[in-house]
Amino acid sequence: MAGAVAAVLGLSLLLGSTGGSTGPPRDSLREELLLSPLPSGDLAATFQFRARWDSELHREGVSHYRLFPKALGQLISKFLVRELHLSLTQGFWRTRTWGQPYLQAPAGAELWVWFQDSVTDVDRAWKELSNILSGIFCASLNFIDSTNTVTPTASFKPLGLANVTDHHLLRYAVLPREVVCTENLTPWKKLLPCGSKAGLAVLLKAERLFHTSYHSQAVHIRPICRDASCLSVSWELRQTLTVVFDTFSIGQGKRDWSLFKMFSRTVTEACPLVSESKIYVDISSKTQENELLEVTPLPLSVHEASVQGDRRTYAVYDLLSPSLFNVSRSLNVQLKWKRPQDSLDLSTPVLHAQRYVSGYGLQTGEISTLIYNTHPYRAFPVILLETVPWYLRLYVHTLVITTKGKENKPSYIHYQPAQDRRRPHLLEMLIQLPANSVTKITIQFERALLKWTEYTPDPNHGFYVSPSVLSALVPSVIAMKAEDAEQSPLFTSLFPSSDGSSYFVRLYTEPLLVNLPTPDFSMPYNVICLTCTVVAVCYGSFYNLLTRTFHVEEPSRGGLAKRLANIIRKVRGVPPL
């Protein structure tokens, strides 16, 4: 009963919607969907659900949760988490053909957490936290242990309000082998206040979401300023989900799409609990290349913003405005291309990277990373983070960084060598990328022979090396005007840019699959037993043969008499014959 009263109260406050600093803790929810055609012709759909709660979670006594999920709230207060970022991804964002992502995530599972400085045993808190998250999201996060956890010094800064940047409070881990499926989507959807019953979440139908080229879901929790004066803290939970639809195979060569075609659903209403519910459609190419595409129904408003160094135009559908559902009861956004695109060379993004294993054979190898800076005239630095498991023994003296045929000296290097079976290699470097250049970073490694119980059940599949992380402030080609971060769609407010001339980008390269020398597991016992026996027998007798000297012993004659004589001599104390 009390809960219902509180809910009504909250709802009325929400609908009142004018900010007052007094009264009970307030929370709000915004849902957004961004549909953007990618340069390759595919379509990216990004959902974002932003819950914001004006409450001190770390203080005792918070027990009433409304829009903010209780499971996560309790987690934050128990483990004194400052920031938590978890992403589960199936597939790989192909930056070169799909353009700069709004928020990229590495293939598999990624978790990074900043703890409060009052946490004494960070490693223990990290272990417990990852185990609990594993339960919440049905993911194998419990496999995060010291062999795949690192503490980066420069790559991962707190995204929210923070006055502590002591990196010992940070833990970062990637599980590149993690497979993401509906079992991970369901708990993620359950965190939403409306579930998948109403609002944009209606579109989240697992059957369609996993029929895509790329699927990434994430949870970001961070403290933010409550208001402009920033005297008190609010907590923000962003749940994001990005999928890339392969319009080519869906549309049999045509690249037109509609909401119904992709999600097999349409939107009928906003979630009743939200304060904002919008669908953005990126129609930038329409303004550039003269009516190449058209969207139906006609958008009520158009929003212009500069995102990631590019001027974008968005058609905005506000689900809360009553005029939207005047004509028909459901909203089915459609996009039609008027002319087929046929350009082979796509515009490449300013920063992209590629990583691969070179060499052959099972003894040594080389990890090569190519970083492209296609900006016509600006150089910029990039922070590269490499985490390599211990069973690839890196030779750090072979680290070579070349740009345009010349050696490129990194201005900052942090290297933490691996310890067998205990911790991975960590290599962080700050590298300057000259304008219009390709930088090649190579480092050689040796493949370790594991103990035979350490092999996975499918050792011949290979072992994964987690993606390397590139973080950079990329100078934008056009001048960006400083905007109100809260108003612009999606992620621009997650990575605030310091000035208008550059924007933050974090990129992940592809994970690597490396084969290690693998024994034939079909008969380990006979082989071990047989070789041991053969070695023992041969060694023993050959050693014997080689070290012994041989004498021919004359057979003793006159047996009995001599023996008797000897006995007598023994009794007399004289040496025997």
Partner: protein, 623 residues
């Protein structure tokens, strides 16, 4: 081992070896040869079976129906190829892009060490075009390759057409878990080598190529397709790769299984399998197939584009469409279905192909001989060398020690002998060893280095110059001073040649043993010819008979005989002159294989086997 530490038994054993040496050697040779010939018959061969679970039990239903589209692509490709006069890069890029693939090209160039007369090429410039089909929701960690060589002339355009049709069909499917790379490589093997080296970012040979933009992780398996007619009557599969490496048997089984499923006729070494297995003609037939495989594997040449993948631990086969005079023909749809089935099963793989055999011989597609079964044949041959070496060793240690001390002839006798006589004895061996190996080094380096000098002074082309220099050096090696040991000791002794022979026998045994582990066929072919003559050769007795025999088993003559045998086996006999021409061609191709792809056969012969053979020649003319 108690046998050896007991002096009486040891003496008995050594007497046995000494007395029965020759019969034992003959027996062993016959056993080895007989065992090898028996490999084609049922008790030695096993019926092949699919070991890989991921490919075995799962059924796939092939739905490829775009045979007509493949033919129209093929015609279009042939037209553009004719117009451009080479690989139509722009057309291929555009077509692949329209199919929804990620398209890349890779220009490369390679200057051959000397002109290749068979293919008429010297400075090779080309472009490989490839499209990557990205598997949905996969992070590009694994991939499969379908490669088609774009050779000169009108060959293979049907293969390109079929590949494009398959690509367009595969693009619409959702079940792919591995990326698929569709590759059109120019200039056959040179292009393939350039592509593989660029993909793995290594430089094994001296091919120059631009860096590669598109990659798709670790390649798990590859199929190379050659198809030059609109309809086929049968399919031939080539397995032998560079240096005699073979793909995992499961890949061959996979091909066979799908041919069976679609009712396609499939052959290996161009020989169709016979249904009656137990009869004599059938045995002869499988023996012929087996011999063909041994000859091809022994040559160390890649028998198709797949051969170069094997170095990178990528299982690969070449599939060739054959259009003969048979009545029943199969259209592109059936061929496409077969390939579709293979790729879908490969797509199901959870691990690299590793379950089945990597070392095998195939007397037919349905049966195989595993390494455990064929190795004894080689073992028997090597046993001869060991027996002869033991014999020589015991004779050597016996003649030092007096007959009264014979009992302890083993360790102490030898030690005595070593202390007294071994220093000059072993020093005499140094000059022949050095000279033989210097000849080997000359044989390896001089022909290619000296080709320009040769062309200036003689009216021959570069490639002729190289081949003729090889032969000249080879023959000149026989005429080298064979009594170099005299420089040191004044005159050779009985003991001298025995030590030299002992050394060369052990050397030969080691060489053959090593090469047989890498390339059984090469090891066996060399062993079956060289071993018996190496065992009997000595400076006493019918010297000239030995000389003739020794010349007959030199690796060059073995190559010549192998060519004759090969031509007989493929039922295409040739005259002596043609045979000689083929021999010259084989020599130049052997050299090219080494320089272009890193084949080890030529350096192995030139640097090791030929010097070893010269040592035996020295033994023969020891004075």
């Amino acid at each position: 081992m108690g046998l050896l530490s007991d002096p009486y038994r040891r003496r008995a054993l050594s007497r046995l070896i000494l007395r029965l040496n020759t019969p034992l050697c003959i027996l062993s040779y016959l056993a080895g040869l007989g065992w090898f010939l028996g490999l084609a018959s049922p008790p030695f061969t096993l019926r092949s079976y699919m070991s890989e679970n991921a490919m075995g039990s799962t059924m796939v239903e092939e739905q490829f129906v775009f045979g007509e589209r493949a033919l129209s692509y093929a015609r279009e490709f042939a037209g553009h190829k004719k117009k451009v006069g080479g690989i139509p890069v722009a057309w291929l890029e555009k077509t692949m892009w329209k199919l929804g693939l990620e398209v890349y090209k890779q220009p490369f160039s390679r200057t051959l060490p000397f002109p290749d007369e068979k293919h008429e090429r010297y400075m090779v410039k080309g472009t490989n075009v490839y499209g990557i089909l990205r598997a949905p929701r996969a992070a590009s960690t694994e991939s499969l390759v379908l490669s088609v060589p774009c050779s000169t002339g009108q060959h293979n355009s049907q293969a390109v057409g079929l590949m494009l049709a398959l690509a367009s069909y595969f693009r619409g499917q959702i079940y792919w878990a591995k990326d698929i790379i569709f590759l059109v490589n120019e200039h056959d093997l040179i292009g393939m080598e350039a592509w593989l080296e660029a993909y793995h970012d290594v430089n094994v040979t001296e091919v120059l190529s631009s860096g590669m933009l598109g990659r798709a992780g670790a390649i798990q398996a590859a199929v190379s397709l050659e198809l030059s007619s609109d309809v086929v009557t049968s399919f031939d599969v080539a397995v032998e790769g560079l240096n005699g490496q073979l793909p995992n048997l499961d890949l061959v089984n996979l091909f066979y299984a799908f041919c069976q499923k679609n009712g396609l006729l499939c052959t290996i070494q161009g020989k169709l399998q016979r249904t009656d297995w137990d009869t004599l003609p059938s045995y002869v037939h499988s023996l012929q197939t087996l011999l063909l495989m041994v000859l091809k594997q022994g040559s160390g040449r890649p028998q198709g584009d797949h051969g170069l993948f094997l170095r990178y631990h990528i299982e690969a086969i070449t599939v060739r469409g054959i259009n003969s005079f048979r009545q029943y023909k199969y259209d592109m749809g059936t061929v496409g279905k077969t390939l579709e089935g293979m790729f879908r099963k490969l797509n199901n793989l959870l691990e690299r192909l590793h379950q089945s055999y990597f070392f095998y011989l195939l007397p037919s597609l349905a049966r195989f001989v595993s390494i455990g079964v064929y190795m004894p044949a080689f073992g028997f041959l090597i046993l001869i060398l060991v027996l002869k070496a033991l014999d020589l060793w015991m004779k050597l240690s016996k003649c030092d020690v007096g007959p009264e001390e014979q009992l302890c002839d083993g360790d102490r006798g030898a030690a005595h002998a070593a202390a007294e006589e071994s220093r000059p004895g072993l020093l005499t061996l140094v000059p022949p060893l050095l000279i033989c190996h210097a000849t080997g080094l000359t044989l390896y380096f001089l022909p290619v280095l000296g080709q320009h000098v040769a062309t200036q002074h003689f009216p021959v082309s570069e490639s002729e110059a190289v081949v003729l220099t090889v032969i000249a050096i080879y023959v000149a090696g026989l005429a080298l001073p064979h009594n170099t040991h005299r420089v040191l000791t004044g005159c050779g002794s009985e003991r001298g040649w025995m030590t030299l022979k002992l050394l060369s026998l052990l050397y030969l045994a080691m060489l053959l043993g090593c090469i047989a582990l890498i390339n059984f066929s090469l090891g066996f072919l060399l062993a079956v010819t060289m071993v018996p003559v190496a065992a009997i050769v000595q400076p006493k007795g019918p010297k000239y008979l030995y000389a003739v025999l020794l010349v007959l088993v030199t690796p060059a003559v073995t190559l010549l005989l192998s060519i004759v045998l090969y031509q007989e086996l493929i039922e295409y006999p040739i005259s002596a002159l043609e045979c000689w021409q083929l021999f010259l061609q084989a020599v130049s191709e052997g050299l090219l294989d080494h320089y272009l792809y890193g084949s080890i056969v030529f350096p192995f012969i030139a640097l090791f086997v030929y010097p070893c053979w010269l040592l035996l020649w020295n033994v023969l003319f020891w004075k």
